[in-house]
Symmetry: C2
Subunit: 158 residues, 2 copies
Amino acid sequence: MDEPRWLDEREDRAWRGYRRMRRLLDLHLARDLMHDAGLSEPDYDVLSDLSETPGQRLRVRELADRMLWSRSRLSHHLTRMQQRGLVTREECPTDARGAIVVLTPQGRRAIEAAAPGHVAAVRRHLIDLLGPDEIAALAAFSHRVVENLSDAERSPPR
Amino acid sequence: MDEPRWLDEREDRAWRGYRRMRRLLDLHLARDLMHDAGLSEPDYDVLSDLSETPGQRLRVRELADRMLWSRSRLSHHLTRMQQRGLVTREECPTDARGAIVVLTPQGRRAIEAAAPGHVAAVRRHLIDLLGPDEIAALAAFSHRVVENLSDAERSPPR
């Protein structure tokens, strides 16, 4: 391997800041969500994705892709959410392999009750601390990073 | 609660981009690190923090604070790293409660072998995709977010 291109001081500061921000944000947002609404972040993501979808239903496979979870991990999680009455599962009529997860009325009430507090926490801990230029920069580079990694995902492994 | 201030379109785009970037980056960096060096991200953080410290040693408590892990979680992790020969533990001579973790020569070789590939992955997946203004913006707002959350940490819980 060639001599590594170590991060310079500015880059190192950005990278360390990012890592620490990510850890602290994860921790606080998860804590607030559990404290205020009794939901974990994956619970919230599932309920939120379903509530924004026509018919309030998604294929398990599609939901797993969005969450970057394996189908079996998501399946176990959905079983626990089902036991709490937040979702149900149906077989897909056109594809025997494609189980579908559906938001229940109780799940809808849970996400509607949780959303205002969660948005307030996202504002308090992140969004309201950034100026308009920083919001624009975050939106631009995060989507670029996601695009680049999604391309890497589609390419054959190294 | 007052009517929630929902995110506007720009803010929502930044927040969704951030969340997806965080998930994908975590996944790819962890995957590359395990594949190239046989280390998990917490392994890397422990070795990297120790290697940058005078005497290559830290109190377990100090290391746990940096990683935002509980001491018992870190202790279990260190036991496994100790079994692999990467670190050892000593009692603190001045404080019976303060165990100290020390990098071994094998741990030093592991971090020196892993660092070039990890830095290359951090560049490839994040840093080299950002322009100088974006690097500066990320450094500035991430440290602001961290500072704000650290202040919240020090205040009494709500």
